[in-house]
């Protein structure tokens, strides 16, 4: 039985607490890989606002995670993604995977992140000194995702 958990968070979350909660449910795993994405910058006058498409976003991520479950023998995954407005250094995404051996957890987490960056239904805008612009996937994000094509 794979331990699964997905949450779209309107409020700030604590990656350490999520890691601990994940560790408690992945009986028998020999490896956990956890990735935390942060809003880049250091005390800058910058805010990031993320929106999503309720239900659609969640069901899409569940599909992506199911694909990961079929490709790697993972015993669990945990995904949290922020929406709303956040500032530099705040956690924006948390992805953890667990498996009996490390390689599967590394690859599954990498795969999940590449898909979240370019395929999950989130929209991100950045405001700096009162100027707002939409952020769209970089060419690198698209290339990263293509690494996983069969």
């Amino acid at each position: 039985m794979t331990a699964t958990y997905l949450k779209i968070c309107k409020q700030r979350f604590d990656p350490e607490a999520e890691h601990k909660a994940f560790r408690e449910v992945i009986n028998g795993a020999g490896a956990i890989v956890a990735f935390t994405g942060l809003v880049r910058g250091e005390g800058e006058d910058l805010t990031l606002t993320l929106s999503h498409y309720p239900d659609f976003t969640e069901s899409q991520i569940l599909e992506i995670a199911k694909t990961a479950e079929t490709r790697w023998p993972i015993t669990g995954w945990r995904i949290l993604h922020r929406v709303g407005t956040m500032q530099a250094e705040e956690p924006i995404v948390f992805v953890a995977t667990a498996s009996r051996h490390r390689r599967d957890a590394f690859e599954a987490a990498d795969f999940l992140m590449d898909y979240l960056k370019s395929e999950a239904a989130f929209w991100k805008s950045e405001s700096v000194a009162g100027k707002t612009r939409w952020i769209e996937p970089r060419a690198q994000d698209i290339t990263d995702k293509k690494r996983w094509a069969d």
Partner: protein, 81 residues
């Protein structure tokens, strides 16, 4: 009634709409043309590449027929993480 949602850049161009299926509009291509005629700011955004359309929360790859009660979402390129 149909419900039309706009996300990302497209959300700057239009509020969500709840309207009767317009006369003569039978599919998503027709709806896109109808929306473009109503709102020139939206028309410009809809022409940009990388947008996606979902009908009842399923992404469509080609023109799809519409009926009363459908939820159509116009989405600009996605950017998570």
């Amino acid at each position: 009634m149909i419900e039309i949602l706009f996300f990302g850049r497209l959300g700057d161009a239009s509020e969500a709409l709840r309207v009767e299926l317009p006369d003569g509009v039978v599919d998503t291509d027709g709806l896109t043309i109808w929306l473009s005629a109503k709102n020139s700011f939206l028309a410009a955004e809809l022409q940009k590449s990388g947008n996606r359309i979902a009908v009842n929360k399923t992404i469509i790859a080609q023109n799809k027929s519409l009926k009363r009660g459908d939820e159509i979402a116009y989405m600009s390129p996605l950017s998570g993480g």
